[in-house]
Subunit: 183 residues, 4 copies
């Protein structure tokens, strides 16, 4: 299976990038799948504006990202919570992707994660992040994982230090993959 990993945040040291890379590592260690991490910062898009779309079409970066998504059998995305809701950086990507027909996210199996320095782990934001994804008909896996106190969760080697967190992430990603494999 071909699995694509990315974070909904842009900054270099994003906790969500670290978290989703850990998901990738755990899957890679078990083997058997082709995995790829990509960085949304390499796919810069302007804030969605109907006039830009009318004059220049969907940005090439959105089309390239859409092509990547189409090729993948499944997506694992860790996206931050901004102001209790979806991150503007990720919503903007979804809005542009939704203008690139046929929509790459349609019926695409997708697992959502979140990392946050706060105590709630960004879970509240995930429930808002699901909505536009489900509106474009992505198959968002019902279970999700938030990582609280994410600023203290990684060692110098970038690995999650808490065993229970690692186990939960390993189990959840496996459940997701097993579900996609059956489909």
């Amino acid at each position: 299976m071909k699995i694509l990993f990315f974070a909904g945040a842009l900054r270099k040291e994003s906790l969500n990038k670290k978290f989703v890379k850990e998901a990738k590592r755990l899957i890679d260690e078990k083997g058997g799948h082709t995995t790829e991490f990509l960085d949304l910062a390499d796919y810069p898009m302007p804030v969605y504006d109907g006039d830009i779309e009318a004059s220049s079409g969907v940005p090439e970066t959105a089309k390239k990202l859409g092509a990547k998504i189409k090729e993948a059998d499944a997506l694992i995305i860790s996206s931050p919570e901004y102001n209790g809701a979806i991150a503007s950086s990720f919503k903007n990507v979804i809005d542009w992707l939704s203008r690139d027909k046929p929509v790459s996210l349609e019926y695409k199996p997708l697992l959502l994660l979140a990392a946050s320095p706060g105590a709630l782990g960004g879970v509240r934001g995930l429930w808002h992040t699901r909505v536009p994804l489900e509106v474009v008909k992505a198959h968002v896996f019902p279970d999700m994982q938030g990582l609280p106190s994410a600023d203290k969760a990684f060692g110098a080697d970038g690995k999650l230090t808490d065993e229970k967190t690692v186990k939960r992430l390993s189990t959840l990603t496996q459940q997701f993959i097993d579900h996609v494999a059956k489909a």
Copy 2:
């Protein structure tokens, strides 16, 4: 009372700009308030990125918009629904505004409208639009108005053609103003 009007969308011919301008016109006709429409396209901001904030701070455009909001006694905003949820253009503005302390939106009375060519008038999106605004502690008025079939709702003079819609908008904006006036 000083009332600020804007739309959550960027494009020039935005139906939401037209709708919120009609709200302004109806209030202006009754008189007694200082009203101002501003265009988010005049306050361009990059997609929120923690690295931009760390290196250059909050954009000047966000600070200027925040200052405008601080001066106002109340806001009336018409914001489109993108993919069943908040418009990325408006979420991005909220995310930047939330980084400019003290946050201009805190405890600010705010009325939400939406216009959409669809049959639902963008009302579904409004319920997601409320969330980050309430998280930054804006006082979002409980009642809201969606304008369905908005592409056919305006005459050549930019005025709403349906009398019932005009009456509802006039009543709703008045209720909102009366509520703010009491506070």
Copy 3:
């Protein structure tokens, strides 16, 4: 495939019962599946109360309904919108079902419909109805269908009169079944 149909509403002449029965009829006409409609009014439960659970356990009606759900390969549910959100009657059923372990709804494929006399067809409520279902890990199909003006949508024979609505319902239920069949 064994498909279970019910409505989230209790009253006898519920528009949601009529709507979900039409979904059943369209599937029955194509053949190939075992279908069953059940009426939540035949599974009366008290309003959820932790003291009732502590003293008498999960009601027998909830256990019977849970057993029905466990047997089914897929669920098609039409649930009304009450006050812009999930119907209390359906939320109450979900809350009781969630106390009957292992939870019957876990990983159960599920299609949501809604019928409403209003112009929005109950779609707004559906987005709130998804949430607790996804929290108990049901696989809620991303696409959904709302039936607006539902009080005028059925003929004397109980059949939907609008051809486009019938076609949409037929297509959607087929897509759902095809998706479940693959899994």
Copy 4:
């Protein structure tokens, strides 16, 4: 000012009853307001069913509760999260109250709290609890408070043991009261 306090849960030892009683105590200690706690268990209502409404009207208990709400200047409600969403017990009360015209909750200032044994304090559920309240046009205060690990939060005397939690609750309820007093 007349302030009414209740919990959205029914069971006797409800953590939400304890939490909202603490909010009442903190306000009582400062003095100057008439406060009353009521127990939803004393206002039993059947699960909402349009047939019950048609044959027997809105239950007397709902009418009595509505009268209590009408008399109050403000409500402080602590309501649990069930399955990541609004408690069925509270949603059912809202649905019945919404059928008793004029609706007692309309434009009623309202502060939401939640208590939960979990780590998130029921905050996720509060965001779903707001929705039907705002749909019936209650003025839900933007700020809210969730009490995590609520099963360990109270002393034998029923008082909150954590000073920071007490201080936050005291500040929040005061901000709410000040806001209502101005209106």
